[in-house]
Assembly symmetry: C2
Homo-oligomer: 218 residues x 2
């Protein structure tokens, strides 16, 4: 049974983690892990998820999926997290991220010299870690896969499922979760959006980020 680990931390974004979980729970055993086992609160404070084990209990997963969220910013200088990421990446089959989870991979040195993606708001931040940002939704570089913002984790996980268990099973999973998306608007990327809306989101996320840093004491 594949050991698939999703590390979570306070102020992570729930859909970043639950999208891939919903796909990957059909190909292996998914575990949510934290600095320590126990409750972890999402970025808006409205949902609490239990980490079933500690990072230390998940030292050598086959697959790691790092979700994003404003909580990542405090962790980019956290030795416990960065050491853990370097450790699991040394033996993983696949090291992946969704949204700003890629900032953690970057801070751990995993994206140096690679093309990568992140939430559109943080794409340029990837350069700080030696990565070359790309606007693609899912970016595969050797055993490292990064996905764009939040909902892109579903597309990434289906791509990963195809690598792990083949296209036919990945398609069956897509049908099981009835992933035949029909968004009511065509407004899901910066290219398709009004600049005023882009700035509005930038402001809202900056405020959330500052609040998260304050909660984390960094």
């Amino acid at each position: 049974m594949l050991d698939i680990v999703i590390p979570i931390y306070d102020d992570f974004t729930a859909l970043d983690a639950v999208g891939p979980y919903e796909v990957l729970s059909r190909v292996g055993r998914v575990r949510f892990v934290g600095v320590q086992p126990g409750p972890v609160v999402t970025d808006n404070g409205m949902l609490t998820v239990l980490a079933e084990a500690s990072l230390a209990d998940a030292a050598a997963p086959d697959v790691v999926v790092v979700p994003g969220g404003v909580g990542t910013r405090a962790l980019t200088t956290d030795a416990v997290w960065l050491d853990w990421l370097r450790g699991v990446h040394a033996t993983s089959t696949w090291t992946t991220s969704v949204c700003t989870g890629s900032l953690l991979l970057g801070a751990a040195g995993i994206l140096d010299g690679l093309r990568a993606t992140s939430h559109w708001l943080e794409l340029e931040t990837l350069r700080r870690y030696g990565a070359e940002p790309t606007g693609q939704r899912v970016v595969e570089q050797g055993k490292v896969i990064t996905a764009a913002g939040v909902s892109a984790g579903i597309d990434m996980a289906l791509t990963l499922a195809a690598r792990l268990v083949g296209d036919e099973t990945a398609k069956a999973i897509q049908l099981a979760i009835e992933y035949d998306p029909q968004p009511p608007f065509d407004a899901g990327s910066v290219q398709k959006s009004d600049p005023a809306v882009v700035e509005r989101i930038r402001g809202a996320v900056a405020a959330r980020e500052a609040a998260s840093r304050e909660r984390a004491g960094v």
Copy 2:
């Protein structure tokens, strides 16, 4: 602040709930509630989410979103759940479901005479409750909105967000969660799938459903 309630129960499907939560947390206060406050385990046993309050503490939400999952089957004869659903529906602005959450709305009598949808595997079951099944991804009938399987909750929630706070804010939310879906396969509906795959999923879900009924003791 809009009071948006997502009732959860053992063996619910996480993405059914977390997709809409991720969208609707940007338009109001989302609360996960259960028969009682505390841990609730998802359908595959790999994720535990905390219900922050009880059904009784959420007697008059503005919006209710009922997620699906094999755990619904035991609840279609559970008076506590059906009475609660009838009660909240009496005063809600919107009563909605994702996936087999519609079976609970149906069992509570809320879909009688309405067009509705569900996970493709359970579409015909809706007839039992006087509803007319439709293959549409999101079905709006007065203040009742039902969505198709699992991932359809994201499309439903964006539709609902547009009704609650207008198209422009709904589009901004879509951009915030970068919902510009690019599935690696075009395999997310029965019409696009191999009949053998459909039967394989039918078998897997039937097994999960039987296990869930056994856990629930019904």
